[in-house]
């Protein structure tokens, strides 16, 4: 289990290469990549603030719960903070399990919890000013399924 919180970019392809492999019992790997989207076409950058210390603890707790619930062979979470450009990778999650259902469920669980329970806050800076991204009800509701 690895959790990395960093301002530096990460290499999704390199992180995916070999992830979860090596154990005889691994049949399924799911990897997720989140990217800075420019919905309205005027985004110049995104700034991600976080709560050092709590971030690492909160994500480690989620990852441990996922490992236990879905008997994961491995899990990886990388999340960036600081200044990001449109199109840049923000974060990734990877899960390795015996079967595909467990690997998918664990990855979706981690994404749902990262969205609403990891202490990150996004600010979008564009031509028309700066705005904190509001939390969505549907993201909060998504936790209900776990």
């Amino acid at each position: 289990m690895r959790v990395r919180i960093q301002s530096a970019p990460f290499d999704y392809g390199a992180e995916c290469a070999g992830f979860g492999l090596g154990g005889a019992g691994v049949g399924a790997v799911v990897t997720f990549l989140g990217v800075v989207r420019d919905d309205r076409g005027g985004l110049s950058r995104m700034e991600i603030e976080h709560y050092p210390g709590m971030t690492e603890k909160a994500i480690a707790a989620m990852a441990e719960e996922a490992v236990g619930r879905w008997s994961l062979a491995d899990v990886l979470v990388i999340h960036r903070h600081g200044t990001l450009q449109p199109g840049e990778p923000i974060m990734m999650v990877a899960t390795a399990a015996r079967h595909r259902k467990a690997a998918f469920a664990a990855a979706e669980f981690l994404m749902d919890y990262l969205k609403s329970r990891a202490p990150f806050w996004k600010k979008e800076i564009g031509a028309d000013g700066a705005e904190w991204v509001a939390a969505k009800d549907e993201d909060e509701d998504a936790l209900g399924r776990w």
Binding site: G34, L114, R117, K123
Partner: protein, 82 residues
């Protein structure tokens, strides 16, 4: 003495990322009332606590939670990670 941290627009409204306070507040809600009474910028930041979250020693908590033994309180809007 207790460390109080502010994040995102709470930090911006209050105008600082953290401060160290002497308080006799028994609960988070008491601390919020104390802060709001201090200055307008606090009153503005805490005007709608339903839009805020609180963590005690880096664990999410409720506004009714007691502060006894707590070293670090953080106030912030709902999280938007991922």
């Amino acid at each position: 003495m207790i460390d109080v941290l502010y994040f995102a627009w709470v930090r911006e409204r209050i105008g600082l990322p953290r401060e160290r306070l002497e308080t006799s507040a028994a609960t988070v809600a008491d601390l919020v009332a104390e802060l709001m009474a201090r200055e307008d910028r606090y009153a503005a930041a805490f005007a709608d606590v339903s839009a805020l979250r609180v963590a005690l020693d880096q664990e999410l908590a409720s506004f009714a939670a007691p502060l006894k033994g707590v070293r670090e309180v953080a106030f912030f809007p709902p999280m938007t990670g991922g």
